[in-house]
Amino acid sequence: MLRLDRVSVTAEDGGVAVPILKDVSLTLEDKKIYVMTGPNGGGKSTLAKTVMGIYKPSSGTITLDGRDITDMSITERARLGIGYAFQTPPRFKGIKVRDYLKLAAGPDSRADYCSLLYDVGLCAQDYADRDINASFSGGELKRIEIASILARELKVALFDEPEAGIDLWSFQRLTETFRALNEKTDATIIIISHQERILRLADQVILVSGGTIEEITTQEKFLGELSKTDDACRCRIGCLREGPVNGNAQCDR
């Protein structure tokens, strides 16, 4: 179980401390899928990176299975079983996909890079010996990034907009991959996404906005309200529109 207790994160902007996360408290259970959504710049990625240890909280505590990990480094958290799939993964000149996945899996792992690549819709024969360099498209890079997380035995798996850049044909497989990960392991899965098909995987939907958790809800409720938004321009957040749109929609803020 992953627990955040009154976690705040600030960033420096021209010598001024700007709050990014404000007093966030959250309890995330094992074997559940949480989908974090909300407007851009709301703090979703910061929250995920703070769990991974990439950002340090200015206050608050983070515990994993009762153990305080607040002051642990990225490496220590990774070794405890926290993994984070980057929104924009870096490229590595000269490192082959095969070696990268072996590195991700760790020396004792029996994870097979062929099936990992298959799980993200890539053919091992075509990809295993390629360098992770500029020759990869954004979508291919994202899939290898996801495979690098699947390679590991994790307690907490964070995915930052995994669907970005992934084509429609591969989308179905991606959702199946998340579902299979949920069935096969006890990992807490946290996916940052704006996609309805990803939202449909959620045990709970966490709405992050303005650096706080605005709401924790079920996907049924969330998607239900979202569909109303479509029909009636009932914008939930950050809507600047007032009055009717296209004559019949109305904003009730």
Partner: protein, 307 residues
């Protein structure tokens, strides 16, 4: 003929990947003397009469054969050698050269080699050159290789040149001339550390139509070491040339990358890309997210980059 001891065998392994005496044609030069030679039906090796060095003559049509010509220096000395390679028409061979220096003393151990290649019509040559230095003494380990290559019509030369630590000072000069439809592929890997200095000058002349050249140079400069790259490509006909020069700089090192491309013909297409920068922090963070320490992440990135 000199025999090979444990140090020699280690140097031999480092520069030529050889645990023992190689198969096929070879010539091993140790401390300025011949330490072993073998020729085959298709590959002859002859000692030069006018100056130190050998002529390697590969008969036309020779396929899937290799020549190993490692040089090992295990004492302080200044060794100078001129080697000439004749790769006959339509031959397809691998030539493995390289120099390993073990300097136990306080004086300089220097090997200056001039390698001249004639890649005849339709021939293919892969040339692998590794430089390696070690030794507890304070004496400098210096290597100054010069490589001159003429590639005739339809010929191909592929060069793999690497120098990873160990050499205090290196000045490498490579000059290649390409004729009609000839092809050149160069991959250069260099790592300097401490107070080392390395300079690489590569001049490629694309003399005739449909000739192509690609140079990929990657280097890492650590500590207070210095590197200078001067990659120069000149197109005299309808041709294509591409230079990619990429350096990772660390600590207090210094890297100069001096690009030069010149076209003497309106159908010459020449590209030069050069970049110098430190290891991207997101690369380090990504690998740390996989459980590596920062140091391990750095090593993994450098190892891949120089692979």
């Amino acid at each position: 003929m000199e025999t090979l001891n444990a140090i020699d065998k280690k140097l031999l392994y480092k520069v030529a990947g050889l645990h023992e005496i190689p198969q096929g044609a070879y010539n091993i030069r140790k401390n300025g003397q011949s330490a072993g030679r073998n020729t085959t039906a298709n590959i002859d090796i002859v000692t030069k009469e006018d100056r130190p060095g050998i002529n390697v003559i590969i008969r036309p049509g020779t396929k899937n054969e290799s020549v190993h010509i490692p040089v090992i220096l295990s004492q302080e000395m200044n060794d100078l050698v001129y080697n000439t390679f004749e790769v006959g028409e339509n031959a397809d061979v691998v030539i493995v050269a390289g120099c390993g220096v073990h300097n136990p003393g306080s004086r300089r151990a220097e090997h200056d080699g001039v390698h001249e290649f004639f890649v005849r019509r339709g021939a293919r040559m892969k040339y692998v050159e590794k430089h390696y230095g070690e030794g507890d003494g304070s004496g400098e380990r210096v290597l100054n290789p010069t490589t001159i290559i003429e590639i005739e019509e339809g010929g191909t030369a592929e060069l793999e040149m690497s120098q990873i630590r160990g050499i205090d000072s290196a000045k490498r000069d490579t000059r290649v001339r390409l004729h009609r439809g000839a092809k050149l592929i160069v991959s250069e890997r260099l790592l300097t550390y401490q107070e080392q200095f390395a300079e690489s000058n590569i001049t490629v002349e694309l003399l005739e139509e449909a000739s192509t050249a690609q140079i990929i140079s990657r280097s890492v400069a650590q500590d207070k070491s210095r590197q200078i790259f001067h990659l120069n490509m000149r197109g005299y006909a309808e041709c294509r040339g591409h230079i990619q020069c990429d350096s990772i700089i660390m600590h207090d090192a210094q890297v100069s990358s001096i690009p030069e491309i010149t076209a003497f013909h309106s159908d010459a297409q020449l590209i030069h890309e050069a970049a110098i920068g430190k290891i991207a922090s997101e690369q380090l963070v990504k690998l740390m997210c996989l459980g590596l320490t920062e140091k391990e992440a750095e090593e993994t990135i450098l190892q891949g980059f120089l692979a």
